[in-house]
């Protein structure tokens, strides 16, 4: 049986492609019609081609717990998600605005602290944040930018409006999957690219290279750029290697680098060579055993000294993560107004801060309706989805909140939008999705057209993280008027 869109039930959620059973949205009509025109065998054949392409291209991610078989194939659904370009243009502006303001904020934190003197954000929140690095006080990185590469998580609610769910300013991953998803789709559905005017995303590695080059302390034509990875056992190792390859940069581990006289060098077969910019994909606390975790074997002794003296560019800058704390998140609309004197284009999901006794009381009373998140975790770990949790889990969480209210914030459960995925037997079902666009900021700004759409592959689930059973889709920003 070919796909029958009449039997597709998006229910009360906003579906990205199908507005009601049998009715594709305007931008999805050509796609829906095309998919329905394929026989089940043909669809199965495409699905097999996807699996084959992913296997041979070696697109994988790594899961820590699965010893012995550390590499997993990347789960990918072949039906693309489509966003009209007009709508995207606004979203893209909103992202640029948000990141501009966040970078002003981080620079202010580590320098003059105006925003605290003006009592817009309480200093205590920063001082208590697990991501605040006092070692960075007084540092003035190039272009006054700290978070050069960001992955902002967006969700749509039941009305189809985009909200910012979280800002990832430390070492966000996923961009390689965004790029590879497009490559796979092109291999499997080349016909579709003739009928849609899809904005290309392939220039990301070039843009990343330019952004990193603009951080070079030396004024040389070809600054030496390296990608610093914790190694092949990191879940994002595939991405580190992919980006290094695409940029023509060296992929290094801490043991490849050495600091001598406050300058960073890499060990090569020609001897030691000076390094100008490090795109580091390891956490702050592992960067430099002299300065942070003394047991870290991943970092480079003396790296912070070299950076603080301005002898090497680090992206993202140490300490940038202070602004993606989930408690600071609730202040971002105020932060935008304070630094840019503009109204936020992209809204936050309404949030309750447990550090405020009144709001905390509300959270504790409504745990069955709220999602509670710890301030510093990422990857979807350590959070409570109230409506889906057992009574015991909620009581457990209530105790944790009371013990450390600063560490928690809560949000109503956003009814995430859905998109159709192709099931094994060839029919389609809605699954919840989010979107992670990537934003670059150095001398210039760049927002990816679209981003990585992550899918909760389990029916009804809201958890899209790849480490917890999520998959992904190609994301198309489509210019109006099909070719």
């Amino acid at each position: 049986m070919p796909i029958d869109w009449k039997s597709y039930q998006p229910g009360e959620f906003h579906d990205e492609l199908i507005s009601s059973p049998g009715n594709p949205r305007k931008h999805a009509r050509v796609l829906a019609k095309y998919l329905a025109s394929l026989s089940q065998e043909e669809l199965q054949h495409r699905k097999d081609s996807v699996d084959h392409a992913i296997k041979t291209m070696g697109i994988s991610f790594t899961v820590y717990s699965e010893a012995g078989n550390i590499d997993r194939q990347w789960p990918f659904d072949l039906i693309p998600r489509i966003i009209p370009s007009k709508e995207w243009a606004i979203t893209s502006k909103g992202l640029e605005q948000r990141l501009r303001a966040l970078n002003c904020f981080i620079h202010d934190i580590y320098n003059d602290g105006h925003i605290f003197k003006d009592k817009v954000v309480p200093w205590d929140l920063i001082a208590e944040s697990g991501n605040y690095r006092p070692q960075c006080q007084g540092m003035k990185p190039k272009h006054s930018v700290w978070a050069h590469i960001c992955g902002t998580d967006l969700v749509r609610d039941a009305n189809g409006r985009f909200y910012v769910l979280e800002d990832n300013l430390r070492v966000p991953s996923g961009v390689s999957y965004m790029l590879e998803n497009r490559t796979v789709t092109k291999r499997v559905f080349p016909e579709l690219f003739e009928n849609y005017d899809i904005q290309p995303i392939g220039e990301y590695p070039d843009r990343l290279f330019d952004t990193l080059s603009s951080l070079s302390p030396r004024d040389v034509k070809h600054p030496q750029i390296v990608v610093l990875t914790p190694g092949i056992y990191n879940s994002a190792y595939f991405e580190h290697s992919f980006l290094a390859q695409q940029m023509g940069a060296e992929l290094v581990q801490g043991s490849d680098l050495v600091v001598d006289q406050d300058k960073v060098y890499m060990k090569t077969i020609h001897g030691l060579e000076r390094v100008d910019v490090i795109y580091r994909r390891i956490d702050d606390l592992f960067l430099d055993p002299e300065c942070f975790n003394p047991d870290s074997a991943l970092g480079v002794a003396g790296l912070m000294r070299a950076w603080l003296k301005g002898n090497v560019g680090l992206a993202n800058a140490p300490g940038a993560g202070v602004a993606d704390d989930k408690v600071i998140y609730t202040y971002v609309p105020k932060i935008i107004k304070y630094y840019l004197d503009e109204e936020p284009i992209l809204p936050n999901v309404p949030s309750y801060l447990c550090v405020d006794p009144k709001q905390c009381d509300h959270v504790l009373k409504n745990l069955d309706k709220l999602v509670v998140k710890p301030a510093n975790e990422s990857g979807g770990y350590g959070m409570l989805i109230g409506p889906r949790a057992s009574k015991r889990e909620r009581e457990d969480f209530a105790a944790r909140i009371k013990a450390n209210p600063r560490n928690y914030m809560a949000q109503p459960l956003v009814a995430l939008s859905t998109a159709p995925i192709l099931m094994d037997d060839g029919h389609v079902e809605p699954r919840h999705i989010d979107l992670r666009p990537f934003v670059l900021q150095g001398r210039e700004f760049y927002v990816t057209p679209g981003g990585l759409t992550r899918v909760a592959l389990v029916k009804g689930s809201y958890v899209v993280n790849s480490s917890q059973g999520g998959g992904s889709k190609d994301t198309w920003i489509v210019n109006e008027g099909s070719r």
Binding site: G58, I232, S241, V258, M266, K267
Partner: protein
């Protein structure tokens, strides 16, 4: 080029060559046993000797019979010299040098790994085994072909070739060792008599040559029947046959000139060359090869040490890191 990358790409070359040679060896050895009188004591245990994994084997079995030995050599993850371990190590080294090697090469290596994973433990029958081994040899050749045809012939390529030629020289020295077993008396279990394999000497040497794809080349170069002395000379000293140690050494010499400051390594290569060219082969065959092969293999290992000191782990860096 990063030293750590150079080291991994060097090992990629070594594992590729090792996997190919091991597959050839198992295949030819199976064929040779069919040519020898039944019950001869040169059995599958000799195979374990050649590959040099006695200690690992003795940990898991005392039976030197076809099935367990072949399984151990093909698919046992506990055997670091098994084909499966070799392919896995090759893939790990390729996976961590993906920014250097051509994307298609990675795809081929990954495919070979997946193929081995699916088939290695299921190749019990002789026919199935032969098919698998031929696939492995063919794929290794394809991968090398692709690397040769699409990589820049610069330092990264030089490191692959260094790994490949050192591994090959080492394997050829082991093969000379195999041939020499035909010179020793063996015990026949069926007749309870000592038996000299001399009548089968030709068979053994011929199979050694086949194993190295060198039978034709030998015939063209030596132009005489297959005799132990000539075969040993051919395998040690020939400079045209790509699997002869003489050729490998010349190629090492050539590749080393692509790399910065190769003097110490060149000296190590010259020492091996001296050993292989100055030996009196007639005398050697009379007195036994054992000591000579040991000396040869140690000198080949010294080339590896010299490479490691020159480019992977120079003394000086330990000093800087220590001073910090």
């Amino acid at each position: 080029m990063l030293s750590s990358v150079a080291e991994r790409i060097y090992w990629l070359g070594r594992y590729l060559e090792r996997v190919e040679n091991t597959a050839r060896l198992i295949n030819v050895y199976s064929g040779m046993l069919l040519d020898l009188p039944r019950g001869t004591n040169i059995g599958w245990g000799t195979m374990i000797d050649i590959i040099g994994c006695n200690d690992d084997y003795e940990k898991i079995s005392e039976r030197f019979e076809e099935k367990p030995v072949v399984k151990f050599l093909l698919s046992d993850p506990r055997n670091p010299s098994s084909l499966m371990s070799g392919v896995t190590a090759m893939r790990e080294n390729a996976r961590t040098t993906r920014e250097i090697i051509p994307a298609e090469a990675w795809e081929l290596i990954n495919n070979l790994y997946l193929h081995m994973k699916d088939n290695a433990s299921r190749s019990g029958s002789r026919r199935g085994r032969q098919q698998l081994l031929e696939t492995v040899v063919g794929e290794c050749q394809r991968i090398f072909g692709l690397l040769t045809g699409s990589m820049n012939h610069n330092s990264s390529y030089a490191f692959i070739q260094l790994g490949r030629k050192i591994e090959r020289a080492d394997m050829t020295s082991r093969m000379v060792d195999v041939g020499s077993i035909s010179l020793l008396p063996v015990f026949n279990r069926n007749t309870n008599q000592r038996l000299f394999l001399e009548p089968y000497e030709n068979v053994v040497w011929m199979n050694v040559l086949r194993c190295l794809s060198g039978y034709q080349a030998y015939r063209q170069t030596v132009r005489s029947q297959v005799r132990g002395e000539d075969v040993v000379r051919f395998l040690l000293q020939d400079e045209e046959f790509p699997r002869a140690i003489g050729y490998c050494l010349n190629d090492l010499d050539k590749q080393l000139r692509f790399l910065p400051n190769p003097e110490e390594v060149l000296r190590a290569v010259a020492r091996v060359k001296k050993i292989t060219t100055e030996v009196d082969i007639t005398k050697l065959l009379e007195s036994g090869l054992l000591d000579f092969i040991d000396e040869l293999q140690i000198s080949i290992a010294d080339i590896h040490e010299a490479i490691s000191l020159a480019w992977f782990h120079p003394e000086e860096w330990r000093r800087i890191a220590g001073a910090d």
